[in-house]
């Protein structure tokens, strides 16, 4: 099931169709803008809502990939600000070589990433998003593109998830190349969850506000999607290829561990969150012990039942009730 979803993920990433628009870099481009607008109308006709609804109808993994790609693009855009994109035929046609194009979603992703630096001051709120937009040179009215501060939190979580995937994939490559030892499952889970939760460290003071935003009814579906995709990815990279009930029990267990550790981290005041990592270690040990305990209980139960049956047969033999002499 996970493999099928991954195949979908690869296919969808290539076929993302979004409208492009000229970047803010060239402000006096009325004529060019109109021309671009006209040509782009002939191209893909999809706006923010349509793109969002299209991805919502796909599986959560596909949505996860969609969320993954814009932050990656946003990061690469920020690093290569004046670089040239591979010119499409449209660009050659218009002769504009110094204008960069990005989609509406990429611009929204850029605004949200810029807003993160204002979160310690304004909290997870529309003011932070407005400050982020202003730092990019856009008017604060562009916050109207976002339905609420929940958008900021969800985008940040998706961004952290994609960073974690990159780290885990890198580690897996190292193991496959033989440059690193494969970790035991318990250690792998502990490291993965710790890496992921450390990304919250700069915002830990305002994280309770973010968690409360995630519990708003309009943000719950998206939040659950991101959480389930995170847990699924961690288990995948831990080497889980189960196809039976174990798939569900493993993910449920890790979801419980992750959520409780997050709660402990929010109120942890020890240096470098040491108490949180100890708590995490203990919870993972509990789960591992529980798995082996369950097996022991089952075999013990079977043995006990066999013993009882044997005792009953012996009793019947002794008292002469047993007909089969």
């Amino acid at each position: 099931m996970a493999a099928l979803v991954r195949a979908l993920r690869a296919g969808h990433g290539a076929g993302r169709a979004l409208r492009v628009l000229p970047r803010v870099l060239a402000p006096h481009c009325d004529q060019k803008c109109m021309f671009h607008g006209a040509v782009l109308r002939l191209q893909d006709e999809s706006k923010c809502d349509k793109a969002a609804s299209a991805t919502a109808s796909a599986t959560h993994h596909v949505h996860h990939d969609f969320q993954q790609a814009p932050p990656e693009d946003a990061v690469s855009e920020q690093t290569s600000d004046e670089g040239h994109r591979p010119s499409s035929s449209f660009q050659e046609q218009s002769g504009e070589q110094d204008e960069e194009y990005e989609t509406e979603e990429q611009l929204q992703a850029r605004i949200l990433i810029a807003a993160l630096q204002f979160v310690p001051v304004h909290g997870w709120s529309m003011e932070a998003i407005a400050a982020g937009a202003e730092s990019l040179g856009l008017s604060s009215a562009s916050t109207g593109m976002f339905t609420g501060a929940g958008d900021l939190v969800l985008h940040f979580i998706a961004h952290c998830n994609s960073q974690l995937i990159q780290i885990l994939a890198e580690q897996q490559k190292q193991v496959q190349l033989g440059q690193a030892e494969p970790k035991k499952t318990a250690d792998f889970l502990k490291d993965a969850v710790e890496t992921r939760l450390r990304m919250y460290a700069p915002y830990i003071d305002t994280w309770p506000q973010a968690m409360s935003l995630l519990l708003l009814p309009q943000n719950i579906p998206e939040g659950l999607k991101l959480l389930s995709s995170l847990v699924d990815d961690i288990w995948y990279y831990a080497g889980d290829r189960s196809t039976d009930m174990n798939w569900y029990t493993k993910r449920a267990a890790l979801t419980g561990i992750y959520n409780t550790t997050e709660l402990v981290m929010v109120q942890d005041s020890s240096p470098d969150f040491q108490e949180t990592w100890d708590f995490l270690h203990n919870r993972i040990q509990d789960v591992v012990n529980m798995a082996s305990t369950a097996k022991q209980v089952q075999s013990t139960g079977e043995a006990v039942v066999q013993g009882l049956v044997g005792a009953a047969v012996t009793l019947k033999n002794l008292t002469g009730i047993n007909q089969r002499r």
């Binding site: 803008c33 706006k47 509406e104 856009l138 009215a141 562009s142 109207g144």
Partner: protein, 328 residues
């Protein structure tokens, strides 16, 4: 008195019959007026400029602006009262919804075109004030136990005002409407942050990239060249700025549509005559609503003007639509 009432009743019946004839026979709305008007126009004018719609009539484009000016000149004094009477006060909710959707941040500059009596601008200023109060209260609460770094930072920072003060500019082509708006502002005691400018929506007297938010509430259907107004909006908005338009639109529900049509054509002109003493202006008003493009078409027009992330919300079942677009 009895004679005038009889005259009045006869006039209502005549118009009622005319309206029923128009809607029942499915004749194109302009034809009846057109035939009479065109015959006399051919004698007086050359076949010169293009024609456009003025309610259900057809007029030359140059004339439409003048006729619209006359309409609003006549209704300016009783404009607010008539709004309340015709929409049963619901127009206040529509305008409040516009402000909530806008969610302006402190420091934002608003341009309210066809703002006339200033409803949107007043609400904008109130909203900004309450936002600033909230921010100040939050700051005070956070400052209860300042760390030494915060105290030293406070001493070192310069005592400067906000980088940009929020303010609203009300622009209207009609000086009578602006006069009424100014009187309202004076009576409400609003002194700063508000300015009144006379200007044409198709040719705004402002420079490029000046405003954060451009609103036009119940005004764009009166503009002769809507595309031109949209392009002007694109021009005066800052990058990232938002275009918001509140306008009467098509009702999709057939039952509601019938009730709405009956109310529009039978009740509203009568109210206009009784309260403002002007039947024809309010007849023009309801007819111009019918001639305005529907939600999807208007959305396409906004996109063609160069706005992105264009969306609309139907209010009151589609009677009013709130369109929003961004200059990115």
């Amino acid at each position: 008195m009895a004679a005038s009432i009889k005259l009045f009743a006869r006039r209502i019946l005549r118009d009622f019959r005319r309206n029923v004839y128009i809607s029942a026979s499915g004749v194109s709305p302009g034809s009846i007026h057109c035939r009479a008007a065109q015959s006399c126009r051919c004698l007086s004018h050359e076949a010169g400029g293009r024609s456009t719609h003025f309610g259900f009539e057809t007029v030359l484009e140059e004339e439409k602006a003048k006729k619209v000016y006359q309409v609003f000149e006549n209704v300016a004094q009783k404009y607010d009262v008539m709004n309340d009477a015709m929409s049963l006060g619901i127009h206040r909710l529509w305008k409040d919804l516009l402000l909530h959707a806008m969610n302006p941040q402190p420091g934002a500059r608003l341009l309210d075109v066809a703002g006339g009596t200033g409803d949107i601008a007043f609400r904008f200023l109130e909203y900004i004030k309450s936002q600033e109060d909230k921010m100040r209260r939050r700051e005070v609460k956070a400052m209860q136990t300042p760390s030494w770094q915060e105290i030293s930072a406070k001493y070192s920072e310069e005592q400067g005002a906000e980088p940009q003060e929020s303010g609203a500019v009300v622009c209207d082509i009609n000086k009578e409407m602006l006069k009424v708006g100014k009187e309202k502002a004076d009576s409400m005691g609003i002194t700063s942050g508000l300015s009144w400018v006379a200007g044409d929506a198709e040719e705004l007297p402002f420079g490029d990239d000046e405003f954060d938010i451009y609103t036009i509430a119940f005004g764009i259907r009166n503009v002769t060249h809507i595309e031109q107004a949209l392009l002007e909006a694109q021009r005066v908005l800052k990058p990232g700025g938002r275009f918001m338009c509140l306008e009467f639109s098509k009702v999709s529900n057939p039952i509601l549509s019938k009730i709405y049509d009956a109310y529009s054509f039978q009740v509203i002109p009568v109210l206009g005559e009784v309260i403002a003493g002007d039947w024809k202006s309010y007849q023009y008003l309801v007819e111009s609503i019918r001639r305005f493009p529907d939600q999807e078409e208007f959305k396409t027009m906004i996109e063609d003007a160069g706005f992105y992330c264009v969306s609309y919300h139907n209010l009151t079942g589609g009677i009013v639509a709130l369109h929003s677009g961004f200059k990115l």
